[in-house]
């Protein structure tokens, strides 16, 4: 999409709030991570999985769509001396390409999905110098199992020589698994959370996530659209009201 203002400003992990054309009985915009951006154009990565995304498949070159963005708090650069590790589940790689592009050190990326058709854009990460390790639940591509089934042995062998810093996007259960490994080892992990959103700009208080309270006692709500979608894993409070 041609969008010079957003494209020039967007940072890794930020999103745009898209009004899907021809979806008139569904009111809300839909948030999409910006997959790629140059100084004029944005690329979004989506799959035809519901009414909204199905309607998007009918867009043709030259059509106009309404976007608000760039929105949200981006991923930071990795700390000096750390080794960046991307962990993507589902279509989480959509939020991680700009992270991969902007890191000074090319690291290792773990992509997990249900089956081979869920593993997208491996070539594009490899082209910019990343090692990509794939897992699928049905074993149709890469190692059979969950993304952690590949991540854990890799960490066991590599953690003696390097200090991983995680950048992760995917289902909550996977994010929680990555966060757990980071916390146990005192590594830094940045996770991008996906919650259904209303306004996208911090007004409606729909997409809230529990985080540690600033005074150190208990928890507070943070808006995924504004304080997030990227949170440092150690700030997040996980509980039962967060769907996996």
């Amino acid at each position: 999409m041609e969008s010079p203002h957003i494209a020039a400003e967007v940072r890794p992990g930020q999103f745009v709030h898209l009004k899907i054309p021809d979806l008139n009985d569904a009111l809300l915009r839909r948030p999409f991570s910006v997959f790629k951006a140059d100084d004029r154009r944005l690329t979004l990565l989506y799959k035809d999985i519901g009414k909204g995304t199905h309607s998007m498949t009918r867009l043709a070159p030259g059509d106009a769509v309404s976007l608000i963005g760039p929105l949200g708090t981006p991923f930071p650069r990795h700390e000096e001396g750390s080794y960046p590790v991307l962990v993507a589940g589902g279509y989480g790689m959509a939020a991680l390409y700009l992270v991969a592009r902007d890191q000074e050190v090319r690291g290792t990326a773990f992509f997990g999905g249900a089956a081979d058709q869920d593993i997208l854009c491996v070539d594009e990460f490899e082209e910019i110098g990343w090692q990509v390790i794939v897992t699928t639940v049905d074993g149709s591509l890469g190692t059979r199992g969950l993304v952690t089934d590949a991540l854990d042995p890799w960490l066991a062998s590599e953690k003696k020589r390097l200090r991983p810093e995680f950048f992760s996007c995917g289902p909550n259960a996977m994010l929680q698994a990555v966060a757990g490994r980071a916390l146990e080892n005192q590594w830094t992990a940045w996770i991008s959370m996906d919650r259904s959103m209303g306004c996208g700009v911090g007004a409606c208080l729909t997409c809230v996530q529990k985080v540690k309270a600033r005074n150190g006692e208990g928890w507070a709500w943070a808006r995924v659209c504004t304080e997030g979608p990227v949170f440092e894993a150690k700030e997040v409070v996980w509980d039962d009201d967060v769907d996996s």
Binding site: K19, N24, D25, A26, L27, L28, R29, S66, I68, R195, S196, G198, C199, G200, V201, G202, A203, C204, L205, T206, V208, W221, T226, D241, V242, D243
Partner: protein
């Protein structure tokens, strides 16, 4: 052409404001649109003490509408004044603060507290939120309680007072009249309509609070009818809201009897809606040779 509206001491330069809870406290949309273009801004509900609101999920999209049960999370009186009033004072747009409580005494305390806050131009009394456990909704649906809270708050503030009416009552005219008799300067309506949705696979409600309030275009015809009913029995101004997303929608409410309108859910869809509605109303007035809101207000023909 003069599109201004007077509500007690509050002068709105045009008849378009935003519905409480759909516009945050101002800064959220301040980066996206020129909020000084609005007739007024209504901030999200404030209580004396901070509250956390409801668990998630808090919102579900339905056909042409939304069900929400946010549960009035709020930073408390001091938190609001400290964090948001400096921003609002830097803007010329009049500020209407939506206030709520769990008891008559809590309503009185918060009203009194705001009475002396510089930069607050009016108070909207939230007696009709369907989504908190105690108090609020009862004050909107029981006439005796409604009168007690409006009378009580009236004694605590000189600011223009705007009770916001619940739609789920047998006869909205009773509440409209009661508001006027108890000293309200205007009424606003409607609040969201109690509603729910169920996931048939899990058999769980779609939102954590089980029920919520329906908003958006789906409720516009209901809101329009209730605005007409309420406006027919009071002489104070009526601020109409419920699913307005275009100038045409807003003009329907004015013809039904509203002096002003508020944009709610449509802000989420297009943050520019309120400004576009103002432009559209101006164009309509020009085209139809109208020069004041009063020339169109309540002119429904039979």
């Amino acid at each position: 052409m003069d599109l201004s509206v007077q509500i007690g001491s509050l002068r709105m330069k045009n008849p378009v404001t935003v519905a409480s809870g759909t516009f945050g406290y101002g800064p959220e949309y301040g980066e996206l649109i020129d909020i000084n273009g609005l007739g007024a801004i209504v901030v999200k509900g404030i209580a004396m003490e901070p509250t956390m609101g409801n668990p998630t999920d808090r919102m579900f999209e339905t056909e042409s509408g939304l069900i929400n049960a946010i549960g009035l999370p709020n930073p408390g009186f001091l938190g609001f004044v400290d964090k948001y009033m400096p921003f609002l004072r830097r803007h010329e747009v009049p500020v209407i603060v939506n206030i709520w409580g769990r008891t008559v005494e809590e309503y009185e305390r918060i009203a009194k507290a705001f009475d002396t806050v510089d930069g607050v131009h009016a108070l909207e009394l939230n007696v009709s939120c369907p989504n908190i456990k105690e108090g609020s909704a009862m004050f909107g649906t029981c006439e005796t309680s409604f009168r007690r809270v409006v009378e009580g708050v009236r004694k605590q503030t000189k600011l223009p007072l705007i009770p916001k009416l619940a739609p789920n009552v047998t006869d909205i005219r009773i509440f409209a009249r009661a508001a006027e008799e108890c000293g309200a300067d205007a009424i606003s309506l409607i609040n969201s309509i109690p509603a729910m949705a169920i996931d048939i696979e899990t058999r769980r409600p779609r939102i954590a609070n089980v029920t919520g309030g329906l908003t958006g275009p789906a409720i516009k015809p209901v809101a329009l009818k209730l605005v007409r009913d309420a406006a027919s029995v009071v002489s104070i101004p009526v601020i109409g809201m419920g699913g307005i997303s275009s100038a045409a929608d807003a003009l329907e409410f004015i013809i039904a009897g509203a002096s002003a309108v508020a944009i709610g859910t449509a802000n989420f869809v297009n943050p520019n809606t309120a400004l576009a509605v103002i432009d559209g109303i101006s164009t309509y007035f020009e085209t139809h040779g109208l020069s004041a809101i009063s020339e169109l207000r309540g002119t429904l023909r039979s």
